[in-house]
Amino acid sequence: MVRFWHPVADMHAVSATGELVLDRAEGVHVWDESGKRYLDATAALWYCNVGYGRPEIADAAAAQLRRLPAYSHYGDLSSRPTTDLAERIAQIAPMDDAVVFFTSGGGEAVETAVKLVRRYWSLRGEPRRTIVVSRERAYHGLAGYGTSIVGTDTFTVGLGPLAGDTLRVPWDDADALAAAIDEAGPERVAAFFCEPIVGAGGVLLPPPGYLEAARRVCRERGVLFVADEVICGFGRVGDWFASTRFGLDPDLVTFAKGVTPASASRSGQRVPGSGHTGTRTRVTRPRRLPRTRTSTYSSASPYPHARRRSRRSLRRRWNRSRRIRWSRRCARGSVSLRRCRSCRRRSPTIRP
C-alpha cells in the first residue's frame, strides 16, 4: 500500500508498480534513490526555469528562514522581501502601473483572479457581470473556480455542480468567443480567462491572429482580459511574459511557475492601474482598492519571497533610478518605502 496519495495519478497503477522516488537534482538532471540519472524534460512541471541546485537560491532561502520565516501580511504588515519583490515584479509586468497580489500557487492565483474580477464589477456598479468565459482544453488549476472553468472534462467528472456563471468557448476561434459573449449579453460577462499558449491541454500555440482578435473582442465588449501565465510567465516563451510577446495588454495576469515551486510557495496576480482591473482607455478607477478576502498566509512569508528574489536574479535588472529613488533611510531598510516621506517626495511613482 502506497500511503502517499499522489495528485493527478491512477493510484491503483502506482500501487501496482511502485513509486519513482527522486533523491536529488542538479542543473537539468535529477537522480532517483537507486542512483539512476534522468534528464528532466519537464523542469518539474514547468517551474524550474533556472535549473536545480543553485547555491544562491539555497543560501537566500536558508538565511531568510533564520531571519524571519513567515508571517501574516494582513493590513499594513509586510516584510522586506515581500515588499521588494512586488516592486521588482511590477517593473517587468506586461502592463503599466501594476500591483502584485501574492498567493500560494497557480491554482490559488486563478481563484483570487476570479474573485477580483467579480468584485471589480461590483464596485463599478455592474454587479450582474459575473460570467467567466474560458476555453476548451484550457487548464486553470484545480481549486474551486479553476475546476469550474477548466476546459477538460477529465477534471470535473463525478464532482457534481461546480461554480455557476461560467462559459466555455473553442480554444482557437475568436468569432466564437464574440458570439458567446454576445449571446450571454456583454453586460453579464466579467472576464475572459486565456492561457496565451494552452499548456497542460497539449501545448497548443495560438493560431496566427487569434490572441489579438480575442483581445479586441473583449475590449470592444468591456470584458476584462485575464492572461493566465502560470506556465508562460517568467521567460518560458522568450519574453518575461507571453502577454508582452503577443502585445496583449492584459487587465490581469496570473503567474506561478518559473518564480516558485508549482504549488509549494507563492504566485500572484498583477492588476493594472493601482490594483484595479480595467482597461486604461475606459476605466474610471475605483477610489480605493477592494479589500481582498483570501487565505491568511498566502501573500505573506518572506522566506519564499527571498528565494524568488534570488531565483530570478532580478537584482541586476533592478534599475532603481528609473522608477524609485530610495532615501538613505529606506535603503537601510529601516522603514517601509511607502511610509517614508522622503522617498515619496523623490519618487512620483510611490503613492502613500
Binding site: 519513482l20 542543473g27 537539468v28 538532471h29 535529477v30 539512476k36 540519472r37 534522468y38 534528464l39 528532466d40 524534460a41 519537464t42 523542469a43 514547468w46 524550474c48 526555469n49 533556472v50 535549473g51 536545480y52 482544453r137 487548464y139 477538460t152 499548456g199 497542460a200 491541454g201 497539449g202 501545448v203 521567460g235 518560458r236
Partner: protein, 65 residues
C-alpha cells in the same frame, strides 16, 4: 512533442508507453492532453543536454513503434 492522431487511434495508451520508454532511457517527461509529450526543460539547458534529450525521446519513440 505530439503523438500522431493515427497512432493514438490505434492505441490510446501509446503516450503512456512512450513516457515509460523514455524513462528507461533516462528522460523524465509526461503525457499531456491530446497525446502531447511535455518537453520544457530548464532554460539553462546546454547543447550537450539538448542532444541527450532528443536522442532519448527518439529512442523511446522507436522502442514503442
Amino acid at each position: 512533442m505530439q503523438i500522431l492522431p493515427e497512432a493514438l487511434a490505434d492505441d490510446p495508451s501509446v503516450t503512456g508507453r512512450v513516457v515509460l520508454a523514455a524513462r528507461e532511457r533516462g528522460i523524465l517527461t509526461r503525457g499531456l492532453g491530446g497525446g502531447g509529450l511535455q518537453v520544457s526543460p530548464a532554460l539553462v539547458i546546454d547543447e550537450a543536454a539538448l542532444g541527450e534529450l532528443v536522442e532519448g525521446l527518439r529512442g523511446a519513440l522507436d522502442d514503442v513503434a
